[in-house]
């Protein structure tokens, strides 16, 4: 059984997601299944049968998706960029469930995503910006 990651990248051409560790530790391959964040590098494609899959390619076209990208950029949350697609997808899942997360809740939300460049503080600040801006615009 092939991994969902390989099917999405090789068969569907959705290359925003990345293979980092390949064992569910780093979150670079994060996607949404039925609205929940999942590591596609350890998911057999059969486990996704009949379920809704969202990747960064669709999320970044939405209003909040653009604000997530904007927040990461303004906060300085992107350096080499390898972890960024998985982080952006994870932030989308977090904000869908909790539009007003505390700093602790943000850190817990992205706890499965490793970033070796930023040290996370910039990412957290980016999410705070995105959350505030999303609430502001929906008023």
């Amino acid at each position: 059984m092939r991994r969902l990651l390989d099917v999405l990248r090789e068969d569907c051409g959705l290359t925003a997601i990345k293979e980092g560790c390949g064992e569910g530790e780093c979150g670079a391959c994060a996607i949404l299944i039925d609205g929940r964040v999942v590591d596609s590098c350890i998911l057999p494609v059969g486990a996704a049968q009949g379920r809704e899959i969202e990747t960064l390619e669709s999320i970044r076209e939405t209003a909040r998706g653009r604000l997530i990208v904007d927040g990461l950029s303004r906060g300085g949350g992107v350096q080499c960029g390898f972890c960024t697609p998985g982080i952006a997808v994870t932030i989308e899942a977090l904000l869908r469930e909790n539009p007003n997360p505390s700093e602790y809740e943000i850190r817990d939300g992205i706890s499965g995503n490793l970033c070796r460049c930023t040290g996370y503080q910039q990412i957290v600040e980016g999410v705070l910006y995105t959350a505030a801006e999303t609430r502001e615009r929906s008023r």
């Binding site: 293979e19 064992e23 994060a30 999942v38 059969g46």
Partner: protein, 289 residues
């Protein structure tokens, strides 16, 4: 070679397949590629057929029956933690287990079937006196968690059985104590875990469960030592303290592996016993000082 993938439509069909041939049941699949992956891009080097059961409604439901919580074996951790009846100690263990992406697919049934001595959620199931429901075409039986897991990777689950549910008695955790020791907060497997919960009545200890994971071939729980603590007040616990610590340390048999050393595990077990006996129990037995 790629393993065959079987997707039954119902639990009944899954049980029929299980009785007819050898298949490896699979729900969250979080260990499949970790354990059986070959080099990058290759299919898992697993020769057995895999039977996916993560989608079966009969296995994902969570419900309360009288004083018992019934957790479907394939309910994902996120849903178990979100259920209002789930005991606090199990919620704590789940909050420290993996990260959201793993808690969205991982299951208690998988944690039990894997039978890892370091399984965090399983450790709390010992302390909670949970039972495991095992079903086959011939019917279902309920087995205490410590009788299901018999050794590292070893279980008493028969070849034609599936884990269908975990049954957790409710109301036995007026206090609880859970500590996980790992390399980092998220996604780390435990060096060890310590789970205890019980009841206090009239300043004495009633029902009690103490479980320690990753310090022996299975989770360690001693009914004998718990019996000595039963009915004790704060003063008696203080008197028994040294004996209890020595008693538990005589039971643990940690190993050294890639995550930790036997000596470290022994030290931390002792420290957690001290914290439990000197701080947690007195604060619950004596009330606010």
């Amino acid at each position: 070679m790629s393993a065959e993938w079987i997707r039954p439509r119902t639990l009944q069909e899954a049980l029929a397949i299980r009785s007819a041939r050898h298949v490896r049941p699979l729900a969250g699949a979080t260990d499949l590629y970790v354990r059986y992956r070959g080099i990058a891009g290759t299919l898992p080097a697993l020769s057995e057929a895999v039977m996916y059961i993560g989608h079966l409604n009969e296995l994902t439901a969570i419900s309360v029956h009288e004083h018992q919580l019934r957790i479907g074996a394939a309910a994902v951790y996120t849903d178990v933690a979100a259920h209002p009846a789930t005991p606090g100690i199990l919620k704590n263990a789940i909050a420290e287990l993996g990260a959201p992406a793993l808690r969205n697919v991982g299951t208690l049934g998988g944690n039990i079937g894997n039978a890892s001595p370091a399984a965090d959620a399983v450790c709390t199931l010992y302390a909670l006196d949970a039972q495991v429901e095992l079903a086959s075409l011939g019917g279902a039986r309920r087995v205490p968690i410590d009788a299901v897991i018999t050794g590292p990777g070893q279980t008493a689950i028969a070849e034609d059985e599936l884990i269908t549910a975990i049954l957790v008695p409710l109301g036995y955790d007026s206090f609880s104590f859970y500590r996980k020791v790992g390399t980092r907060r998220a996604n780390a497997l435990s060096k060890l875990a310590f789970a205890a919960c019980g009841e206090v009545e009239d300043y004495t200890l009633g029902h009690l469960g103490v479980a320690i994971a990753a310090v022996g071939p299975t989770v360690i729980r001693s009914r004998e030592l718990e019996e000595r603590m039963r009915g004790a007040d704060g003063r008696k616990i203080a008197n028994l303290r040294n004996e209890l610590i020595a008693g538990y340390l005589a039971l643990v048999a940690p190993i050294s592996d890639q995550r930790s050393t036997a000596q470290y595990r022994r030290w931390v077990t002792e420290n957690l016993l001290i914290e439990f006996l000197d701080r947690c129990l007195p604060s619950n037995l004596n009330g606010p000082q």
